[in-house]
Amino acid sequence: MLPRNPTNHQHSTTGIYNSRNPGMHLPSRARLACCVITLFAFPLMARAADWQPLIAQLSGKISAATGPGVIALDITNRSTISAADVEAIRRELTSSLANSGVRVWQPEQAAGIVKITLSESLQNYVWVAEVQLGVNEHPVVIVSMPRPESATNAQNAPPLALRTTTLLSQADPILDVVIIEGSPRRMLVLGVSAITPYEFRDSRWIAGSPLAITHERPLPRDIRGRLVLRKDHLFDAYLPGLVCHSTNAAPLGVNCAHSDDPWPLQTEEPHVSAFYAPARNFFTGALVPGIGQQKSAPPFYSAASVPREKYALWIFVGVDGQLRLLDGINQQSLPKIHWGSDITSIHAPCRAGSQVLATSSENGSTDIIQAFEFPDREPVAVSQKLELNGSVTALWTAENGEAATLVFHDADKGDYEAVLLNFACGQ
C-alpha cells in the first residue's frame, strides 16, 4: 500500500518484456504490529514523491537556457501533484537554480520570466518550462519522469470493530490464501497458475518456489478457487473443473487433475460441500451430503452457515441475486435483502454464535463489507461498514473459523490485495 518511489520506475531500455512477477508489498514488523494493536484498518504510510531528479534536470535545462542572472518563476500545476508538493518543488527548484547562478526574484526586478507547468501524461510526470527572456524567442524545455502506478494517502480512520491485516498485494489474481500457524508461520497463496508457499522470516513473508497448476482446458472468466488444509496431506486446491492435491514427500509438490469433486463449503463439522460449475463462476446448487433433508439449493455464488442448537441455518446468495435460508427442512427467500455475491461466516471469540460477513456496493465501483447476525431469520448488522477501494474477488472463511480471507481488486493500483478479516473484540 505504500506509494512507490517514482525513481524506481524508470522506463526499461533493455527492449525486453516478460510477464510480471507477482511483486509483493510485504508488511513490515512495525506494520504488522500496528495492525494487531491498533484499530485502524490499514497502517497506511505515505510520503511525498522524490522529485529531486526531475528538479535537477529542469534546473539544469533552465539555467542552460537563461545563463546566470535574475529571473521570475511562474509555476502552474496541471497534474495530480499535491499543493504541498508543488510548494516543495518551488523551494527546491529555486534553491537548485541558485546553485547554478540563476536567482529567482520578483517579476518587476527580473530579466525574464520562466513559466513552468507541472503536467502529466498517462505514463509520465511532464514538466514544461517556457523561458521568456526576449520578445521573440520563447524556448520550451521539457523534462519527464515515469509516474508511479499508484500512490495512496494515509487517512485517519475511526475506531471500528472489524479489523484487517494485510497479507499480500500483487498484480496477479489471488484466489485464496491460508495461513499455517507454527514456527515459522507459513502461508499458501492460490493463484490462477500456481500455488505459492511463503514463510514469515525476518518480519517478512518470503516466497518459495511456486507450484505450477497444470490444466488442459481453459479456466473460466471471473475464476475462483479454494485452498483447504488437510490432515493426511498438507492441502487441496479447488479450481473450476480441477482439483490439486499436495504431495506428502519433500519437496512440496502438487498433482492436479480434472475433477468435478464438490468444493467444501464448511471445513468444520458437519462438513458440507457443493458442486461447482466447471465453466462458470458459481455453484450448481447440488449439496453433499446436504443440509438436513435438503440436498440442493438454487445455483449460488456463496454460502454461510450459522450454527443453532440443533441444526445449522444456511444462507445462500443465489445467481439470481436472491438471498435464501435453508434450515434442513424449509427454504425461505429474503427478497428485501440485497447483498453482493460473496458472503461467509466467522465466529467472533467474544460473541456467541456466528457472524455472517456480506459484501455490498453503494456506488457500483467499490465494495463494502459488513458483519451480520441472524438472531432469527432476519439479518441484524453487528459491525459498521468496512469500505474497500475496489471490488471483492474472494471471501472465504479462514482455517480457524475466527477470521476470513478477503481478496479485493484495488481500483487505483490495479493490484489484488489479500487481507485477513476478523473482529477486534471489546473495541
Binding site: M1, H11, G15, I16, Y17, S19, F40, A41, F42, L44, A46, A48, R78, S82, S119, S121, L122, Q123, N124, Y125, V126, V128, V140, I142, V143, S144, R147, E149, A151, T152, N153, Q155, A157, L160, P218, P220, R221, D222, Y301, V319, G321, H338, S341, D342, S360, S361, E362, I368, E378, V380, A381, L386, E387, L388, N389, G390, S391, V392, D412, K413
Partner: protein, 450 residues
C-alpha cells in the same frame, strides 16, 4: 502523488439491508449494439474494421496489448526480447491457442498474418516464436504490434478466422454482425453468449432503439454527450482523443501560402467550436496528440488569435483562395466548416465550402490509434501522409517531433473529441479506453431489472 487510502472504515448506521451491488458477473445473454458505422469487411487489415465497439479486438487478437496506461502487456505473445540494436525482435507465442476454425496458432500462421499488414518488415517463424526484423532500430515494435491492424488472422480463401473471445457467427457486410462466445478461449469464455450489432443506424435511430429497449448499447456523438447526461442516461465517456483537424493534402508551394496557412490556424476560434457547436464534447487544441497522452499539448497555441492572424495576413502579398471539403453526411461537420469559413473571412482569408471532388484542404476526424504516444504520433503522421517523425524515448523528443509535424503546416488541429456510449442499465463492466476504443470482452448482463 497522494490518493485516498485503500481501505477506509466508514462510520455509518447499522442497517441490515445494504445497497445492491458487489455482484459477481453473470454468464449468459446477448448484447445488442447499434452503430453508425457501416464496415464492409471484418479483416483487421481494413482500417474501418475497428468499428464502434472495438469489434476487431473481440475476434482478432494481437501479439501484444496495451493496458490503460499505454504499457505493453502480453497478448498472443507471452514474452519478447530485442537483440542489441532493437532491429531484430523475437516474440514467444502463447501455447494452446487455436483459431476459431480449429487451426493451431503457430509461428507460420502468425508470420503470414503479420506480413500482410507490415510489408516492410521481415517476419520469420521460429518454432513456437516469431522473429521480426525492421529496416532500422525500432523500440516501438511491441507497441506497434498492439495496433488493431496487426490482429492475427488465419485466412483460408476468402474466409478469415481469429483467436479472440468471440467468433463470427453471421456477417452481413455493413448491416449486421453476430458474434458468438468462444467456449475454448484461452483467456476464459466470455460472460456473454453473443453480441448482435446493427450497423448504419444514425443517432436518432439509435436513441429510439435504446429507449424502446431494442438495443443495449448505442454511440453518443460528442455534441450530444452533455444532453444525454442531462437526460440521466448511463453514459461512459472517453478522454478527448479523436482529432478533428484541417488537413492540406499538399505542401505549401510558397512563403505566402505558408503564412496563409498559419494565419488560418490562428483565425479559427476553436474554443467556440468546442463549446458552442460541440457542446463541450471535446477540448480545443493546437496539438496533434491530446494532453492526457503527452502532458505538453497545452504548449501549442490553439487558434482564436484573430489579431495575430490579421497581422500574419497583412504580410501576404498574394492571398490564396481555398476550397474546404468536409463530410457531407455529418451535419456537425458542415456547421464547423461554416464557422471556420466565417473566422477566416474575418481576417481576410477566402474559403469556399465543397462536398465533392478534390479540395485544397479538408476537415477530418482521425481516431487515436494507440495509447502509446510515439506509436500514436507515427500512425497519425501516416494517416495524414506526413513524413515519419523521429524521436528517442523522452517527452522532450516527442514534443520536438510533434512540433516538427506541425511546422509542416500541413495540418491545423482544432479539437480533440470525446467518444461516448449510452448503455441500458443491465449492461455491466463496459470499459471505454482513454483513446475511445471499447473493451467489451468482460461485459455481462445483469439479470436484475433496473
Amino acid at each position: 502523488m497522494r490518493r485516498f487510502c485503500s481501505i477506509l472504515l466508514v462510520v455509518s448506521s447499522l442497517w441490515p439491508a445494504l445497497a445492491p451491488g458487489a455482484t459477481r458477473p453473470h454468464y449468459g445473454g446477448s448484447l445488442r449494439v447499434a452503430a453508425k458505422e457501416t464496415p464492409a469487411s471484418l479483416d483487421p487489415a481494413s482500417l474501418a474494421v475497428s468499428g464502434p465497439i472495438g469489434l476487431s479486438r473481440l475476434v482478432f487478437e494481437t501479439l501484444v496489448t496495451l493496458d490503460d496506461r499505454g504499457q505493453t502487456q502480453p497478448g498472443l505473445a507471452t514474452s519478447w526480447q530485442a537483440e542489441p540494436g532493437n532491429q531484430r525482435w523475437r516474440f514467444q507465442l502463447r501455447s494452446g491457442v487455436s483459431f476459431h476454425d480449429g487451426t493451431i496458432l503457430t509461428g507460420n500462421a502468425v508470420s503470414a498474418s503479420l506480413r500482410a499488414a507490415n510489408p516492410n518488415w521481415k517476419i520469420l517463424p521460429a518454432g513456437d516464436a516469431v522473429v521480426i526484423e525492421t529496416d532500422s532500430a525500432d523500440q516501438g515494435v511491441p507497441a506497434g504490434l498492439a495496433l488493431d491492424r496487426n490482429g492475427i488472422v488465419h485466412r483460408v480463401g476468402a474466409k478469415i478466422s481469429g483467436t479472440g473471445p468471440f467468433s463470427v457467427a453471421h456477417w452481413d457486410p455493413a448491416k449486421h454482425l453476430t458474434l458468438r462466445a468462444n467456449d475454448q478461449y484461452w483467456g476464459g469464455r466470455p460472460f456473454l453468449d453473443s453480441i448482435e450489432v446493427d450497423f448504419g443506424k444514425d443517432y436518432r435511430e439509435q436513441l429510439a432503439l435504446l429507449d424502446l429497449g431494442k438495443v443495449d448499447v448505442i454511440q453518443i456523438t460528442p455534441e450530444n454527450i452533455h444532453r444525454a447526461q442531462a437526460e440521466g442516461r448511463t453514459i461512459i465517456i472517453s478522454e478527448p482523443s479523436k482529432l478533428m483537424a484541417l488537413v492540406f493534402p499538399q505542401e505549401a508551394k510558397s512563403e505566402d501560402e505558408t503564412r496563409a496557412r498559419a494565419a488560418l490556424g490562428m483565425s479559427i476560434d476553436t474554443v467556440a467550436i468546442n463549446n458552442v457547436v460541440l457542446q463541450g464534447g471535446g477540448t480545443a487544441t493546437g496539438a496533434l496528440l491530446p494532453n492526457w497522452l503527452t502532458g505538453y499539448a497545452f504548449t501549442f497555441p490553439s487558434g482564436g488569435g484573430a489579431d495575430d492572424a490579421r497581422h500574419e495576413r497583412m504580410q501576404i502579398r498574394h492571398p490564396p483562395a481555398w476550397t474546404l471539403g468536409y463530410d457531407s453526411s455529418d451535419p456537425i461537420s458542415r456547421v464547423i466548416a461554416e464557422r471556420i469559413l466565417l473566422n477566416a473571412r474575418d481576417v481576410g482569408i477566402t474559403l469556399q465550402l465543397s462536398t465533392s471532388g478534390p479540395t485544397d484542404l479538408r476537415l477530418v476526424r482521425i481516431a487515436l490509434a494507440s495509447e502509446e504516444p510515439q506509436v500514436a504520433l507515427m500512425e497519425l503522421a501516416k494517416d495524414l501522409n506526413l513524413p515519419a517523425p523521429e524521436f528517442s524515448n523522452s517527452s522532450a523528443s516527442l514534443y520536438a517531433a510533434e512540433g516538427s509535424l506541425l511546422q509542416t503546416h500541413r495540418v491545423i488541429p482544432l479539437v480533440h473529441l470525446r467518444s461516448a456510449v449510452a448503455l441500458h442499465p443491465i449492461v455491466r463492466d463496459w470499459v471505454i479506453l482513454p483513446n475511445g476504443a471499447c473493451s467489451v470482452e468482460n461485459v455481462w448482463l445483469s439479470p436484475e431489472k433496473p
